[in-house]
Amino acid sequence: MPEGLAKEVKREEIEALLDKYKRQPSQLISILHDIQAKYNWLPKEALVQISEGMDIPLSRAYSVASFYKAFKITPRGRHLVRICLGTACHVRGGVRIMEKAEEVLGVDGGETTPDMKFTLERVNCLGCCALGPVMVVDGEYHGKIVPTKVEEILKNYD
């Protein structure tokens, strides 16, 4: 998992990405995916540079960045906690897991703890419904989880 805040946007890295996609406006979503993979979020400087480099209005880059759920325009924490609230997890009590995580971390879904340690996200189905309810921390799955386990699991991350 890349560091949340640590990375500064490097102009040459963004340029290289723009070149990789031949500055095609139709490739905007792919470029944003790559930037987010690199920096863990979409810093404003990067969006500005993309709009200039591809000759599209900044508003268009911003509208795409803010429309899609996968894109984050605020920095994310070091650890990503995703809780599934798809229908199968919902009927098996996923909401309680979310509430417990919110209580333990002291933030709402979609937010990051002030110490930049955790970002808590709600996801709509990870497709492993047999394991529901599911919590995923940095790609590690915790299936058939009960609320009392949440704190125990999160304790293991620093």
């Binding site: 795409v64 899609y68 229908t87 009392t148």
Partner: protein, 640 residues
Amino acid sequence: MPKLNSPAELEELRQDILSRREPNKPCIAICAGTGCRALGCDRVIATFKEEVRKQGLVGKVDIKETGCPGFCEKGTVVVIYPQGICYFQVKPEDAAEVVSQTIVAHKVVDHLLYIDPITNEKAAYEKDIPFYKNQMRLLLGNNSKLDPRSIDDYIALGGYSALAKALSQMTSEQVLEEVDKAKLRGRGGGGFPAGRKWKTTRNAPGEIKYVIVNCDEGDPGAFMDRAIMEGNPHSVLEGLIIGAYAIGSCEGFIYVREEYPLAVENLNIAIKQAEDYGFLGENILGSDFNFTVSIYRGAGAFVSGESSALMTAIEGKVGEPRSKYIHTSEKGIWDRPSNLNNVETWANVPPIINNGADWFTSIGTEGSKGTKIFSLVGKVNNTGLVEVPMGMTLRDIIYKIGGGIPEGKKFKAVQTGGPSGGVIPEQFLDTLVDYDELIKLGSMMGSGGMIVMDEDTCMVDIARYFIDFLNDESCGKCAPCREGLKQMLKILNRITQGEGKEGDIELLEELSRIVADSSLCALGGTAPNSVLTTIKYFRDEYEAHIKEKRCPAKVCRSLLSYYIDPEKCQACLICLRNCPVGAINGGKNLIHYIDQEKCTRCGTCMEVCPSRFNAVEKIAGQAVPEPPLQEARVIHRGKS
């Protein structure tokens, strides 16, 4: 890899691959789909490799990482070929025994077999396991037989023979005619006839036409398309190439949901391999047909699965739908004719070309032909993917294949069609699963999500859940969907919080009609289905919430209380220590009670109360009994 220049060369290659394979060589096929990965199959695979090495069997046994065979409930799933012995819930520590017993000594490892929960009988083969034997797995069946990253595996099983047949023995019109005659309907939701859609795009003016695979499977609780894309990507590619030939398209796009990285990975490999063999590119199999394909990743927007929205997303814009008085099949991506079908629809094309339309129409009902894959999830014993011929009853799917409801609970409803669908109550369990039958009940086939609900599920809460989901996912372009859903959510929130009013049900019905009739796209158009069907079939639950301030399923938090039964409480202090708000009174040898004023109804006490005491219960619609008097609370324990 040599480029294949004719169907004959493909056949030669196939014979060559088969001749190099020993049909009796043992093979350990381990599911490496997302469900089993979540369970840790990576370690199972690594341990099997290690064991094969340790027991000196390198080269004498193959290990294959396969796609998802569907029985996720029992993962990690391992199948031993050539016998076809199925092992379930395999852990890394089982590897040594499987290798030494089954591979070396040809014995079955008893404790890894399927055990029938009713008869307690063990079953070793798919044909004896109810979950599999009641299915018809035309599309999913190959998942456990091939490594999705090996095109040779696919070719060995007859892969790309349909493409060869189409290109060498059929004109593009004949291919289209065959698909039309097969009455294949779109598997992504609406069930529009694929042949008719193909024809429209083929006949639309303009030289350049596009074909698109929709793998933006946004329906929460559904993962059929992912299983095909991850487990058998070549079957989708082959279908797409055949479709492109029939339609007259030279360029295709595959739009894959961001949440499916493994599908993208396997698909990338598959495309590269298909290019190397010449199934993609110029003069495919020596014909004058050219076709290329590229992958586009989604970025997490449910509405982008709608065809016009998906096409805008491919253009690199905000994936909003547009009104479709001009069909995307005539004016789609960059205003060019674009034919979009879902993953499962495309995967049905090669078998139709290979076996003919008559074969395909022999399966299913009058109006719905072939098989359909469902993602059977929720309160059901055998969670997983099931592929059945159209026309099986809901009851057979849920009970014969799904094994019924866990913990002896009572079935309440099944939700089909995802957020666009509705709930179907028990009295309709004998309905045949078919596009038209489900619509008659107010639900729909959708992409194949099938969520089973038991007596502990609140129907008002389910309606609220779906409206909340759709309100969140509404793109906001048209007012009826954006504003209508918001108001519907407000009302549902009020009802579930005990603030429902007389007339709320009627208001919900009225809003439902307006949102359905006047929204721009299918997201809004079908959004009210969950509300309308829950009102239609479970109106009494709405009324209980509104009039009696009672949630019959004891789900809605504002309408229930937690209570510690003083007869059962053993004063163990566990709930008292775990209560996040300090609402539990009690002490050592002092029976606990909950301070209802402080209690936030989070349910922690109920979760932590040891099952041997089971002292905490939910109360809905009646007053909570007063706590016992102080002197009655003391437990006098003997000194044993």
